[in-house]
């Protein structure tokens, strides 16, 4: 007997079951309410401890934060809990201790969909576009919560990523890796978020495309949207970061400005390859 009664057993027959596009986030979870919170940064995951479901804790007393107009970067070795920390900030997993603060409010109890409405934008690492929908429909879905006219925002996204305007009638699933990432970031920008969270935006793209994506991200940050991102390419990411977090095994190992972390000999030796 499998220990998980809801597991994958017998799920291969596509003539009766359709696991494509299934999510991991529990959409049925009742949403709590936001409470006024004390101080902290603009967006701050404060002393978070927690993990997935009933599993073991992955994060231990972990704090990440981003201030207005800044880029904050989370780096660290594989399995350090970087993506988990992002997901915890976005409410995709329950944290047992700690709090998440946004703009002076305690949003720890909010569901992810409620956080979107509070002005948080999130770009997941994988499956971050609607492959069967056109580029334009992807952007429209990004603006789903907006009832006002979002054409101007769409124009801004097209200005930022001109290639998307050319391909706006194409299914997003037909685009190249770099173009898909642009669609993913564009979709998140359509809500006019107050803060943008990117989970490894340059995963799986060529070095040239990666440089271009970093340039675009800086451009987005210059428009005043604070950015919190996880990056594998630690050196390049820290170069553009105002604030850097080095996570090891779910704990804060080093926290400093990007430049200071790059200059720190211990960080260089352990995480940046000398």
């Amino acid at each position: 007997m499998s220990s998980d009664p809801y597991g994958d057993r017998g799920n291969r027959d596509r003539s009766i079951a359709n696991p494509d596009g299934m999510g991991e986030i529990d959409g049925t979870r009742p949403a709590g309410t936001a409470r006024p919170g004390a101080g902290g940064a603009f967006l701050e995951g404060h002393a978070m401890t927690g993990g997935y479901g009933r599993g073991a804790d992955i994060l231990h007393d972990c704090t990440i934060a981003v201030e207005r107009g800044e880029i904050a970067v989370i780096v660290g070795p594989n399995g350090a809990g970087k993506s988990t920390a992002m997901k915890a900030v976005f409410g995709m997993l329950d944290i047992r201790q700690g709090a998440v603060l946004l703009d002076g409010e305690d949003i720890t109890a909010l569901s992810p969909q409620a956080r979107v409405r509070k002005g948080m934008g999130f770009v997941p690492q994988t499956n971050n576009i609607f492959t069967s929908m056109t580029v334009e429909e992807n952007l429209e879905m990004g603006a789903f919560i907006r009832r006002d006219d979002f054409r101007q925002t769409m124009e801004q996204v097209y200005d930022l990523f001109p290639i998307l305007k050319e391909k706006r009638r194409q299914p997003a699933g037909e685009l190249s890796g770099g173009q898909r990432q642009q669609v993913a970031v564009g979709r998140a920008l359509m809500t006019k978020p107050k803060v943008l969270m990117l989970d490894e935006p340059t995963a799986g793209v060529s070095p040239i495309v990666m440089d271009e994506l970093f340039d675009r991200i800086i451009e987005v940050a210059r428009t005043g949207i604070p950015i919190l991102m996880v990056e594998q390419n630690a050196r390049q990411a820290l170069e553009i970061a105002d604030r850097g977090y080095v996570l090891v095994q779910g704990r804060n190992a080093y926290t400093d400005t990007g430049a200071a972390l790059l200059a720190n000999p211990e960080v260089r030796r352990s995480f940046l390859g000398g």
Binding site: Y6, G7, D8, R9, G10, N11, D13, R14, S15, I16, A17, N18, P19, D20, G21, M22, G23, E24, I25, D26, G27, T28, R29, F90, P112, Q113, V116, R117, F122, P124, N127, N128, I129, F130, T131, S132, M133, E137, E140, M141, G142, F144, I145, R187, A188, T191
Partner: protein, 336 residues
């Protein structure tokens, strides 16, 4: 040789009945395909959802008839359809709340939901029989024929008669309207697009602020409408018996899979393919062939490939062939 009479006979016994039956199957298959695409499982309770919705519509039809409300030449049941839809929607939403939602919260794999839907099927099955009993029910009224066979013969002077039942005409017209509305809804409206987005990628839909529970609710509402309309049209055209609706599950699923599960266009094409195959294979072709060949060649047998009792075997064989040779269906649905 008389091709005109052959064609009239063919229309009368094959084309027109198959078009009507195909429209009913297409509406049923659209419901199945929507659940498969958005809720991600094959809903075995769909046949009984049709039976339940139709039952509610029948009860309202009888009530209207007893009060003397009628639509003149049109069947009173058309007036009762909205109430049938409301009944089916209430039942589906209640089921979702107390059954399916639990499994959604566990992130249960779709195959579990398939088995769950089978349990739901038995409950619906019993529910309909408790309320209305297992017997045949008649609820059709209004004008029976658009064109009667005798009138047609008198009008054209042909040997063969052509009858078009008003229910067949109503079926086709209603199906076209419903399908057009559904496609418009899914392609252009905000809610329709959010349903496609959810079908494509649940998590990302949620991250875009789309409320997944609302998408699920709207899907059940549309499914209730499709199932009830398909059920009432089938009941008007043929007859209403809960067990027949349970049996309809096979041709409905065959239609959805032949067209490609998850593809609305495929569901419609599949519905007509199954209907034409079924009607064509169980029809005794002697009469049509007799008109086409010289008298001396006239066949002695009935030229019937299968007895009508075996009509479900047709859907089953087509289903098996498609799953063996083109499991994604004609329109490249999601099944592999």
């Amino acid at each position: 040789m008389d091709f005109l009479n052959a064609f009239v006979a063919l229309s009368n016994f094959v084309l027109i009945p198959a078009i009507a039956y195909g429209s009913q199957l297409a509406l049923g298959a659209l419901g199945v395909t929507l659940i498969y695409g958005i809720l991600r499982f094959s809903n075995f309770a769909h046949g009984d959802t049709m039976a339940f919705g139709t039952m509610v519509a029948i009860l309202f039809t009888w009530w209207f008839q007893s009060m003397g409300i009628s639509l003149g030449p049109l069947p009173t049941a058309l007036l009762a359809i909205p109430f049938g839809i409301a009944g089916a929607a209430a039942l589906l939403l209640l089921t979702d709340r107390v059954v399916y939602r639990f499994y959604r919260a566990q992130k249960a794999k779709p195959v579990i939901l398939v088995i769950v839907s089978m349990g739901v099927m038995f409950i619906y099955n019993g529910l309909t029989r408790v309320v209305l009993g297992p017997d045949d029910q008649r609820f059709a009224d209004g004008e029976r024929f658009l064109i009667g066979a005798l009138d047609f013969r008198r009008m054209t002077g042909l040997e063969e008669g052509l009858a078009i039942k008003s229910t067949q005409a109503i079926t086709l017209v209603t199906a076209i309207i419903v399908v057009a509305l559904l496609f418009w809804f899914l392609t252009y409206t905000r809610t329709g697009k959010s349903m496609r987005a959810y079908s494509d990628n649940e998590d990302l839909a949620l991250l875009s602020g789309i409320n997944p529970e609302r998408v699920v609710m709207v899907t059940w509402l549309i499914v209730a409408a499709l199932a009830t309309i398909a059920g009432v049209l089938y009941g008007l055209d043929k007859s209403y018996k809960p067990f027949t609706y349970f049996q309809l599950l096979l041709p409905v699923f065959a239609s959805a899979i032949v067209g490609g599960l998850g593809s609305p266009l495929g569901a419609i094409a599949g519905g007509f393919i199954i209907a034409f195959s079924e009607v064509g294979i169980v029809y005794a072709w002697k009469r049509v062939v007799a008109h086409m060949v010289p008298e001396a060649w006239e066949p002695e047998g009935l030229l019937q490939l299968l007895s009508t009792d075996y009509k479900f075997a047709v859907s089953f064989v087509i289903l098996v062939i498609v799953l063996l040779f083109r499991p994604t269906g004609l329109f490249r649905g999601k099944a592999v």
